[in-house]
Symmetry: C2
Subunit: 253 residues, 2 copies
């Protein structure tokens, strides 16, 4: 299981979650994407009407319902999604008082793991219990990093948290790599940040950088990943390249 996380807001977690999973499914892998953000951006990014959902990830996490009936197919063959609604916002405080509060997602995933080659979780912009559930269940962590000053600042905090998770909750967790997002090589700050990341980040930095591309931000308003919205765009191509590189870094066993 792969957690897509960075507590810095707006760095491209959801855009990476949607387009990387769509690209992997396009390459023939069976993929599940879990929307663990109360904003439900992955859910609306696939055109799912949240008001039509009676049950979602919240019901599995808090009420103990099994995941299977909650999973929805997307318009991309081979890619399923576990949607979320605003209801999930209540989960943070509700989980705080429950036994084994960090292990709920890990336990929920056990029965469905065999159905998928890769399972991804899109995390909210915080290091809270929803994110801790993803990190406790994850074998791999992918960190989108916007090519901006503040994005570098938060990375050391994230590494401290991941180290703590490894010591007390999940000995197998590892950082698979950082992905540079919204990269514009004409902007000096972006080039400097990317260089700094490659020089100082203690784990792998994916060679495929995701360029700033307006088609990536337009696609969700049509409820589709870029692959379907504009297959020839630079954003689509970049995420397909990233998908290839990802399968080399996280091979199937």
């Amino acid at each position: 299981m792969v957690a897509i996380t960075n507590q810095k807001g707006g760095v491209g977690k959801t855009t990476t979650a949607i387009n990387l999973t769509a690209s992997l499914a396009h390459l023939g892998y069976r993929v599940l994407l879990i929307d663990s953000d109360p904003q439900g951006n992955c859910t609306s990014g696939f055109g799912i009407d949240k008001s039509s959902l009676e049950h979602c990830y919240y019901n599995a996490l808090i009420d103990g319902e099994s995941l299977e009936p909650l999973i929805v197919r997307t318009m991309i063959a081979g890619l399923d999604i576990l949607p979320s609604t605003m209801q999930l916002a209540g989960a943070e405080l509700e989980l705080a008082g429950i036994e084994q509060r960090e292990f709920h997602l890990k336990n929920l995933l056990e029965p469905i793991k065999p159905w998928y080659d890769y399972i991804f979780v899109d995390c909210p912009p915080s290091l809270s219990l929803l994110t801790l559930n993803a990190l406790t269940a994850a074998s791999d962590v992918v960190v989108p990093v916007q090519a901006e000053f503040y994005a570098l600042e938060g990375l050391s905090q994230l590494q401290v948290i991941i180290e703590r998770v490894r010591e007390s909750l999940n000995a197998h967790i590892q950082i698979t790599g950082a992905i540079v997002t919204m990269f514009d090589s004409r902007i000096r700050l972006a080039v400097d940040v990317a260089k700094e990341l490659e020089a100082s980040f203690p784990a792998y930095v994916f060679a495929s950088k995701i360029p700033r591309n307006v088609r990536l931000s337009e696609a969700p308003s049509y409820g589709k990943p870029a692959l379907l919205f504009d297959p020839k765009s630079r954003g689509t191509t970049a995420y397909l390249e990233l998908a290839h590189e990802f399968t080399r870094q996280v091979p199937l066993y």
Copy 2:
């Protein structure tokens, strides 16, 4: 007191907090900025070395220390800051179990209110207890909205939360206005989102839009607001205009 909040990440909350407060101080107002985000981006945006801080907002919120000794002057005359470090990340779960957990900030502010014309709080990208403390203490709420699809989606959730705060925690809270940030009039999506916001947002939308301007994202790496980093930039001018408009919307009594 003015809370700058939006649970959507990366919409320009911190950039607005730093540059709007700097502009108001430049116009002669006495201003305090409280960094209520564990990322501490406002703190580093003013060049403050977080590792040199022994005490910060966390110590007031959890240990009950008074705010006064924690407040630091910035390089802008008339503008003070209450800094934060990573320690604040622990406050979420620690506050969850304490009496009157939403009222801590409101009680801390009482003794220092007379010293300032305006007090602002920069919130993290979540609707958690740190944000609830700001909303409970606030008379006004300013909502930065990035001109992108996902940014509109979260606004209805934010309005629901503010309504709940008005009913149970703070009868005086009102939304002062939304601010369009990172606006590029050449991008159709941005123009559409700004129009949609003006048509559907139930409160005021500031006429001053903040353009996408790379100098705004470079300034924090020099530890200065744009006003000092590049006084003639479009970003600086836009925030000065916003400051004038803000004083008309939130006059001093």
